[in-house]
């Protein structure tokens, strides 16, 4: 009798203590996936961003400064690509077509640029059209300032929302104490533009004197994932934290995401940055990763192509070299799964117009997830 009471008591303790552990920070191995990963485009070094053209072909950026057009199984190198500042994390970054590409032909590219008087570089946004194998009608739409020789945190991702606004993320360029909390400076921000690069009249800081009026939200560290929620139309981001404290946020106008005033992470050396994880007037992430997975790329699964995956979000892990699937209940992460274990550094993930998922892996190339019957 005594024994059974003890057993019940100890199993209750075990039950409650296991409940107290944050289920969000467990990642599960998966033995049976509803897809098979096929290497579609091989021999790429750092495929950073990718987008799809109406004819079913793809444009893929190589960080070193090349754009590859992949059509009918062959790779063609595109001419007229902007000169990039290839230093540290900088180089040729994201690429995205306009939602009405078939009518207007605009292709948007983010990259690290040396434009300007100071030494170094900072993130820029341009658009151009593809004519044959060349980019033509190139226009630089935005260039963050000032240039710096620091190698960190250029961002960047490009995504359009349902109203046709373009969102661009730029990281804080390794200057966390100066940039992210100051709306008169670039870096550590998510920006919103009209498709021609002009500033929307209702951007949150258009009436603030001295503010960079393209800013939509601030207090970010280094967002390298941006995606539009297929149902709500909201823009979600994922961003690299320091050691620990990578985050998923829903991007809201004028909101402050707190870096470096509040964070769930610590310095790489193990010393604390701040002991605060929340503060009034600063947004809480809807999810944070401990330990850091180094997230890059983000895609919602919006179709039934893969059994059971609809409504979940996919994020690449650079650090642990797999594709993560986060199961959502509304805005809450309820489960995390490790897909494609040990595949390599996953830099980007996108859902194609065909409903298939495409995954960019460093040192490998682009994988297509082919559903199993």
């Amino acid at each position: 009798m005594k024994n059974s009471v003890f057993l019940i008591f100890s199993s209750l303790i075990f039950f409650y203590s296991s409940c107290a552990q944050d289920p969000e920070n467990q990642v599960d191995d998966v033995t049976n996936t509803p897809f098979q990963a096929e290497l579609l485009i091989d021999e790429m070094q750092i495929p950073w961003g990718m987008t799809f053209l109406p004819d079913g072909s793809m444009l893929v950026t190589e960080k070193s400064g090349e754009i590859i057009h992949f059509k009918n199984g062959t790779k063609t190198q595109i001419e007229g690509v902007p000169k990039v500042y290839a230093r540290g994390q900088g180089g040729l970054l994201d690429i995205e077509v306009h939602p009405n590409y078939s009518e207007n032909g605009w292709i948007y590219i983010s990259y690290a640029s040396e434009e300007g008087d100071e030494k170094g570089g900072n993130t820029a946004l341009m658009r151009a059209k593809l004519q044959g194998n060349s980019l033509v009608d190139s226009e630089v739409l935005y260039k963050a300032t000032p240039n710096t020789t620091k190698g960190q945190h250029f961002g960047s991702r490009i995504v359009f929302d349902n109203e046709g606004y373009l969102f661009l993320s730029i990281g804080e360029r390794g200057d966390r104490d100066t940039n992210p909390q100051d709306i008169t400076r670039d870096g550590g921000k998510i920006y919103r533009f009209n498709a021609d690069g002009s500033i929307p009249k209702d951007n949150p800081f258009v009436n603030e004197s001295g503010a960079k009026t393209a800013i939509y939200s601030y207090g970010h560290r280094n967002p390298q994932g941006l995606a539009k929620h297929p149902e709500t139309g909201e823009i979600w981001d994922n961003e690299h934290g320091p050691r620990g404290g990578d985050e998923i946020n829903i991007v809201k106008p004028g909101a402050n995401y707190g870096w470096p005033v509040i964070t769930y992470g610590i310095n790489y050396s193990g010393t604390p940055i701040t002991d605060e994880t929340e503060k009034e007037g600063m947004e809480q992430p809807i999810h944070y990763w401990l330990p850091s997975i180094a997230p890059s790329g983000m895609a919602f699964v919006s179709t039934d192509t893969y059994k059971g995956y609809k409504g979940s979000v996919l994020v690449g892990s650079l650090k642990f070299q797999y594709l993560e699937r986060l199961v959502l209940n509304g805005n809450k992460v309820t489960k995390r799964e490790k897909l494609m274990p040990e595949i390599g550094r996953v830099r980007d993930v996108k859902e194609g117009p065909d409903g298939h998922i495409y995954v960019a892996v460093e040192g490998k190339g682009i994988y297509k997830l082919v559903p199993k019957n």
Binding site: A86, G90, K150, G344, G363
Partner: protein, 135 residues
């Protein structure tokens, strides 16, 4: 004779001592600059203690590869590194992009990693040595 030789020996001794000290000072300054480069470009993967992440990012601390492959290490930093390499008995197969550092910065960061975390090199890396390493 002895009288004439002794001052000369003394002079050489003095010059030698000064040049050893100034070389040490050069190394120290180079390492300080190298540490700043390291904290900017390398620390994310190789970590502050230089131990990296086993099976993912190779260690620099007490690394047999770094110790025995000086030129290849410089080449890896200068032009990038891809494919299999064995470090302290563990096989790594990953990509390190070229960082876009200039030759002087590469010399500095080499001096930092060759002389930190218990690593020790008696052979200072110079900008000229880095400039001479080809793809």
């Amino acid at each position: 004779m002895v009288r004439r030789v002794f001052p000369l020996i003394f002079l050489f001794f003095c010059i030698g001592t000064v040049s050893i000290f100034s070389q040490e000072a050069d190394l120290e300054e180079s390492m300080l600059r190298g540490e700043m480069i390291y904290m900017d470009f390398c620390v994310t993967c190789h970590l502050e203690d230089g131990k990296g992440v086993t099976n993912t990012f190779p260690p620099l601390a007490q690394s047999d590869y770094l110790k025995n492959n000086r030129e290849a290490s410089i080449r890896g930093i200068k032009y990038g590194q891809q494919g299999e390499m064995v470090v302290n008995g563990v096989t790594y197969n990953n990509v390190m992009a070229p960082m876009g550092l200039d030759d002087a910065e590469i010399a500095d960061v080499m001096n930092y990693i060759l002389n930190s975390w218990g690593n020790w090199s008696n052979h200072f890396v110079t900008t000229d040595e880095v400039a001479g390493v080809e793809k």
